[in-house]
Amino acid sequence: MDPHALQSADILRTFVVFLVVAAIVWIAVVVVLAAGLLRRPSPSQHALALDPPFENRAGQVVLGLGIATIIIVLALSVVSYAGQRSVFAKDPNALTLKITGHQWWWEVLYEADSPHLSFVTANEIRIPIEQPVRVQLESADVIHSFWVPSLTGKMDLITGQQNEIQFTAKTAGIYRGQCAEFCGLQHAHMAFSVIALPQDEFRRWREHENQSAGSPVDPLAKQGEDLFRARGCALCHTVRGTLAGGQLGPDLTHIGSRTTIAAGTLPLNSATLGAWLADPQHIKPGNLMPQMPLQSDELIAIHHYLEQLK
């Protein structure tokens, strides 16, 4: 736990209170146990030759400790509830994102009042710091769980219902998130990043991200764009501003500007993108993307096309 948000800091504080109490209780138990074992009680002939005053006293001590336990437990319940209240406090003016879980990646919708300002991206969530962010969580298939330990606790994405979680990042940085509910074969490779940016930087990114893909920068990229459509990529992936409008896989409009590939499995660079295109099943076995029968020159063209989708 390395808190960089209001919520994760609150949780850490609650945790520390519990940890201290737990440590004291455990040490006390072990000390009493050790002391009891090291004592040399008066030797007694028979197991049933008990000393009634001692038995009474022991009973009283046990009950006293029981009452102490009740008090500790109630106090901890109050501490816990206070922590819960602040962690789950809601701010109506929060920036709203809608995240949909898929086996095994994250679809991220930035909602705005007017449709032309809403856009979709995947596996990478950019947020402004010092501003509450509300994340609405849904699932397209099985149950997943949204978890960025540095920002706040987790919340499940449950089929057939919408959950919500809020957090406010305090420091700019890249925070790793990972699916925390077992969701099938590649549960282990269902990560994402949250990139917290200063507010004006976030605004610039949002404006850029909202734009459609630019036209290809050179002939090779143009060839890539055509192949992207002709070889079936576009059946599953969307590149806004082109004819590619598939809904099954992640939106690739600005893929070239992302930091990771395959839902946080690898850092995104020229080599990993190439490896992924050549054989996605090798890197993340069982994912929905098939190995496409591409000639090497076709591969190079598509690779180039995707890289320049900044």
Partner: protein, 637 residues
């Protein structure tokens, strides 16, 4: 009035010594040979099988755990594929929970409870045989499926929709769900037997406040089983129906609800933890009294704690669902209730500490395991208080912190006392002592290995490692702690190898135990080791909570049971006053045949609904055979 020439029945008050024991043995013993083995209804024979089978599943489940630890010892290792790993962790959890932890506790109860309450056999002995066969067949069904690559891979709580037909089209989820049905049938049967045995078969004079604590713990556990397990059977059956005939219990697209599964599962799943833990505390109390050389302080406190834990355990299940978006205030109430369970658990621990404080401890292996249990379990209990808190749980839920927590509770809280119990009762069961030297090695390796394996997992969880991942990427910094944990697991495994070696060697060459090697106080030590088929020459009469300590020369008995046919003495519920002499069933092949018919029915019905139709007649035939009236003599007052 008509004159009836009546055969005067021979009873155990007119016979004595060898004459009595020979006669009793002739009517109670299990016939030799294969037929005898298959028809036995002796609770000791079945209890022994049950214990052994459960331990086989422990070792199988443990082997899977080692495979996982090898895979996770470093980042991006490829010892297991993702597919195999997911089967392995599901099999590990399912085996440990359903084929080891619950059955092994019930197995010890099947063996020990009739001896501890001083009767000749368990209540409903044929049901007992049936229960064992169902457990065995269910366990084999799961493991054979796994060998044929149809092992379940949806986690031991098989959340929908992942386990729905759409996302698990193979038979893997059906195998899991039907294995549940098998083991729950077995567990429910034993629960009924234990309750009736404790309520009606106690030796005369064993009033409620003289019942040994282990028997109390099994009584409470049996009630938990009866109230908790129907919930999971409804869940698993609904899942199979969803998958087989398209009912829509858990299909949100058709109006079903996926959270319903979690409620049903955890309404069972949380009491399940206490179904495993309470018997272990009962064992700990028994061992502690014997080796502290005095009765446990606070008998009523401990008994009431067991009962309170039983009740509270049904009000905690939502703490497994804190991150499913339930209303906040409701969740907070479950936090308070979950933490409250620390009170009865704490009271038990305080009683044990007080007992050790005043006692004169004799450091034999069983006591070492109980001391280790106290040290380790308290850590698990306290981390349980942590995860009961909603804000903390949102961070640590489904991480290795929780993995560490429940292994501290289940291994620390149940397996440690259980191994202590093996050392403690092995002499009674086999007639021979386990080696004390190997026992000490066993304990220290287990204690160190366990902590090295599981303590680092707390940190891994806090560092963000989720559970159920088949691998992790290299730059997370999780490698070293995982490697450490894997080393600990290896050490822990060695301790179990020592246990096996000790049992195998000592069963043949161990020192002879005698009736009561530990000078313990409860009735199971009043008979020979191993006990005769009829348990006691005559039924003991109890006038003290620690009968063997209160009257060291000879134990009082009651006489009057038949020496010609199987008979047990029924006593009243509270005061254990003698009421009726009741016939006890003879060996029978029908429980086995019924179990076979049920097995065919259960396995067939995951493939076709027709199996329900064609599977019923054989079961009906088997049950008719089982209950065919044999004209046994009327019960006598």
């Amino acid at each position: 009035m008509t004159l009836v020439t009546q055969h005067k029945e021979l009873r155990d008050d007119v016979l004595d010594g060898l004459q009595l024991s020979t006669r009793l043995d002739r009517i109670w013993r299990t016939p030799s040979g294969l037929i005898g083995a298959l028809t036995s209804v002796d609770h000791k024979v079945i209890g022994r099988r049950y214990i052994l089978t459960a331990f086989v599943f422990l070792f199988l489940g443990g082997a899977l755990a080692l495979l996982m630890r090898v895979q996770l010892a470093g980042a991006e290792k490829h010892v297991l594929s993702a597919d195999l790993y997911n089967q392995v962790f599901t099999m590990h959890g399912s085996t440990m929970m359903f084929l080891f932890a619950v059955p092994v506790m019930e197995a010890f109860a099947v063996y020990l409870v009739p001896l501890m309450v001083g009767t000749r056999n368990i209540a409903f002995p044929r049901l007992n045989a049936f229960s064992y066969w169902m457990f065995l067949f269910g366990g084999c069904f799961l493991w054979i499926s796994f060998i044929f690559n149809v092992g379940p891979d949806v986690g031991w709580f098989a959340y929908v929709p992942l386990s729905n037909l759409q996302f698990t089209p193979s038979k893997r989820a059906d195998v899991w769900a039907q294995m549940i049905t098998f083991t729950e049938v077995a567990a429910l049967a034993v629960a009924v037997e234990i309750v009736v045995t404790v309520f009606k078969l106690r030796a005369p004079g064993m009033t409620l406040d003289r019942i040994p604590i282990f028997v109390w713990s099994m009584l409470v556990t049996s009630f938990l089983v009866m109230f908790a397990m129907p919930s999971i059977m409804i869940a698993s059956t609904s899942l199979i129906l969803d998958r087989l005939v398209n009912t829509h219990f858990f299909d949100p697209a058709a109006g079903g609800h996926v959270l319903l599964w979690q409620h049903l599962f955890w309404f069972f799943g949380h009491p399940e933890v206490y179904i495993i833990f309470l018997p272990a505390t009962g064992m700990a109390s028994m061992i502690l009294a014997t080796f502290a050389r005095r009765p446990v302080i606070g008998y009523p406190v401990i008994v009431l704690s067991l009962i309170a834990t039983g009740f509270l355990s049904f009000g905690l299940w939502v703490h497994h669902m804190f991150v499913t978006g339930l209303p906040q205030l409701g969740a907070a109430l479950f936090t308070a209730n979950s933490m409250l369970i620390a009170v009865p658990s704490g009271l038990q621990i305080f009683c044990w500490l007080a007992t050790l404080w005043d006692g004169r401890p004799v450091y034999r292996t069983p006591l070492l395991f109980v001391l280790g249990f106290i040290v380790v379990f308290v850590i698990g209990g306290l981390s349980g208080v942590m995860v009961a808190s909603v804000p903390i749980d949102t961070q640590v839920h489904d991480t290795y912190f929780v993995v560490a927590h429940f292994h501290y509770v289940l291994i620390g809280g149940a397996v440690f006392p259980l191994i202590g119990a093996v050392y403690y009762w092995f002499p009674k069961i086999s007639g021979r002592m386990l080696s004390e030297r190997l026992g000490r090695w066993n304990f220290w390796l287990a204690f160190v290995g366990f902590n090295v394996a599981f303590f680092p997992m707390h940190f891994l969880g806090l560092m963000g490692m989720p559970r159920r991942v088949y691998t992790y990427i290299p730059d997370m910094g999780w490698d070293r702690l995982n490697l450490l944990s894997s080393c600990g697991a290896a050490l822990f495994a060695v301790s179990f190898i020592l246990l096996i070696a000790n049992v195998v060697v000592s069963a043949r060459r161990g020192a002879l135990a005698g009736d009561n090697p530990w000078d313990a106080s409860t009735l199971e030590w009043a008979t020979t080791s191993p006990p005769p088929s009829y348990n006691f020459d005559r039924i003991p009469a109890v006038d003290h909570r620690d009968p063997l300590w209160s009257d060291t020369e000879s134990i009082r008995v009651v006489a009057g049971l038949s020496a010609e046919r199987r008979e047990v003495l029924l006593t009243s519920l509270a005061e254990a006053d003698p009421q009726v002499r009741e016939a006890s069933p003879e060996p029978s092949i029908w429980p086995l045949l019924t179990a076979l018919a049920t097995t065919v029915f259960f396995i067939g019905s995951i493939f076709t609904p027709w199996a329900v139709l064609w599977g019923t007649p054989p079961m009906a035939v088997a049950l008719i055979g089982w209950f065919w009236p044999t004209g046994s003599r009327e019960d006598e007052e």
